[in-house]
């Protein structure tokens, strides 16, 4: 197929080495940029970290006007919104993955999977737009709230946004469960459901767990949609599990205040400090997901 090209003059071969180096550089780019991200976000956030020390993380007051930056309410807000979102998204997502991979006939499987993937590609601003216009009023009237922009609304919007991640990653591992395992169970007279429960899910459990971690990572980093529906009050709700009170998340604080913060001020630095917290959280979560997923592959061979 490429005879003529293969016969190209020899000098072309001398391009091999430089091209190889260029490709190597490109492969390195992801590490380089990840490192640069850490470097620059830390550098800009240093001032706030030095000013407040540990209080930057455990301080309960986030008040720009008095130049007090304690990120605890924001961290709590982020975690709370994400926890509720996952509580909704994980059962729905995993059940959907099982249904799509194990129950749906092959012919419409791809179609359904594509539609769910399309759900993932809807821009977050559109989710926010619809959340503000339709979901928030519904929540308000359902719970008799004065305003629907509360943690629960944000959680529901986030849940919808996280489900596709969970479906596609856990679906992948469910689909990767060897056919032999399922046949073994079916041939013993196990029903489809028993096969699913006793063979497929246990085998795919690490992948499912990884999908939950990835979902967590996606949800905690979501910005625009959350900002529009979370209510943005930098206080830990009372009682702390009150999901019907507004919250302020790490991402929302960055997006809302970054435009206001003049370069070099303490506020500017504090926002990068939030970025650093977020960076570390996502790095840990994503790495955990990676480790879990890799362990799962090993587990199939060993046990």
């Amino acid at each position: 197929m490429s005879h003529n090209k293969c016969a190209s003059p020899n000098f072309l071969k001398s391009f091999d080495k430089p091209v190889e180096k260029l490709m190597f550089l490109c492969a390195l780019s992801s590490i380089v940029f990840l490192f640069l991200m850490l470097l620059f976000i830390t550098r800009e956030g240093m001032q706030a970290l030095f000013t407040f020390g540990a209080d930057f993380i455990i301080g309960p007051v986030w008040e720009t006007n008095s130049n007090l930056y304690g990120a605890l309410p924001l961290i709590y807000g982020s975690l709370m919104v994400v926890a509720v979102a996952l509580a909704v998204a994980v059962p729905i997502g995993v059940a959907t993955a099982m249904f799509v991979e194990e129950v749906l006939p092959f012919s419409i499987r791809d179609l359904v999977k594509s539609l769910i993937e399309l759900l993932a590609s809807i821009p977050s601003i559109i989710y926010g737009f619809i959340g503000v216009l339709f979901l928030a009023p519904q929540i308000a009237s359902l719970f008799g709230l004065s305003s629907g922009t509360v943690a629960l609304t944000a959680s529901l919007v986030l849940a919808i946004m996280t489900i596709p991640t969970i479906v596609s990653v856990s679906g992948e591992t469910i689909a990767a469960v060897p056919k032999e395992y399922k046949e073994a169970a079916l041939a013993l007279g196990a029903t489809k459901w028993q096969t699913l429960k006793n063979v497929v899910v246990p085998t795919a459990k690490s992948g499912i767990l990884a999908s939950v971690m990835l979902g967590f990572g996606r949800a905690i980093g979501e910005t625009v949609a959350v900002l529009m529906v979370a209510g943005n009050v930098a206080v830990i709700p009372t009682p702390p599990w009150n999901i019907l009170s507004p919250v302020y998340t790490l991402t929302a604080a960055i997006a809302m205040q970054m435009g206001e913060a003049a370069v070099g001020t303490l506020e500017y630095s504090a926002l990068f400090g939030l970025g650093l917290i977020l960076f570390i959280i996502t790095l840990v979560v994503n790495s955990l997901a990676d480790i879990i997923a890799k362990k799962g592959i090993k587990g199939e061979k060993g046990l």
Partner: protein, 278 residues
């Protein structure tokens, strides 16, 4: 001992409910947005923003997308070729692999924050198209690398063997056999990457967009107007009338969805139609 099969059927129907919820949500969002179709006139797409149209925003979004693809495409494809064809499995490769996964999972707001600190300020690009390209490219990169890797791995080894046996060098083999065979997959991954960043707001919020300016940027160092940014500022900061915003939201939605569906459809098509797998 009789197990009722109808019970089983009921159960799987229940299991199907969440899937139905997902699809319902999708169609609901689509239908909600499509109700806004009455508010947009076709000439909205071709009139300038100065006359109340969306022309510069649409083309600006296209500029951002094409530029980002122009950066992330080559870098991502080269990186993927290196990782699949050249790299030996070692610690460095594991670290690179990990880094790609982490980059893929990075919140877009952090990428935007970094883009502002690094591209806009450190490199002095300011709020400009170029900053936006680089920032968005950073978001596309993992998608392009992963998609290209998958496409390259699908190329059967005997293809490459055939070329190598004829005396082609490794690079020639890659260039003339591997990449052409993997081309559909590579293009698809770039498309999917573009779909991912087309509606992105947080990453361009501080890096490349302005509310209004005249016309399109004349150089990469000028700022640009974009659909997602305009929608964000108009809803969050200006609280503009829903009719006008509806139009932007709908067009943004259609743009992203069409990109994504073409990408997804192509991917399914080529996964099924890999001729050498038959």
């Amino acid at each position: 001992m009789m197990r009722s099969r109808s019970w089983e059927k009921v159960f799987f129907t229940i299991l199907g409910a969440p899937a139905a919820i997902c699809l319902t949500v999708f169609f609901w969002i689509t239908s909600v947005l499509l109700t806004g179709i009455g508010t947009i006139r076709l000439n909205l797409l071709t009139t300038s923003a100065l006359q109340g149209g969306l022309f510069e925003m649409i083309v600006g979004t296209a500029y951002l997308l094409l530029g980002a693809a122009g950066v992330a495409g080559p870098v991502g494809v080269f990186a993927a070729i290196h990782l699949t064809e050249y790299a030996r499995h070692g610690r460095l490769i594991r670290v690179i692999d990990q880094a790609i996964n982490n980059l893929a999972g990075m919140p877009s707001i952090l990428i935007g924050l970094f883009g502002y600190a690094f591209f806009c300020r450190q490199l002095g690009l300011g709020i400009s198209l170029a900053s936006g390209w680089l920032t968005l490219a950073l978001m596309m990169l993992p998608i392009v690398i992963r998609g290209t890797e998958e496409a390259i791995k699908m190329v059967p080894y005997n293809f490459k063997e055939a070329a190598l046996a004829l005396g082609a060098s490794k690079w020639e083999t890659v260039k003339s056999v591997t990449v052409p065979s993997a081309a559909p997959g590579i293009i698809t991954s770039i498309l999917l990457g573009m779909a991912r960043v087309a509606g992105e707001t947080a990453a361009i919020l501080f890096t490349s967009c302005v509310l209004v300016t005249r016309g399109l940027p004349k150089s990469p160092f000028e700022p640009v107007m974009a659909l997602a940014f305009n929608l964000f500022v108009k809803i969050v900061a200006l609280g503009e009338s829903p009719d006008k915003v509806f139009g932007i939201a709908l067009i943004l939605f259609l743009l992203v969805i069409s990109f994504a569906s073409v990408g997804i459809a192509l991917r399914i098509y080529y996964r099924r139609k890999q001729p050498w797998l038959r």
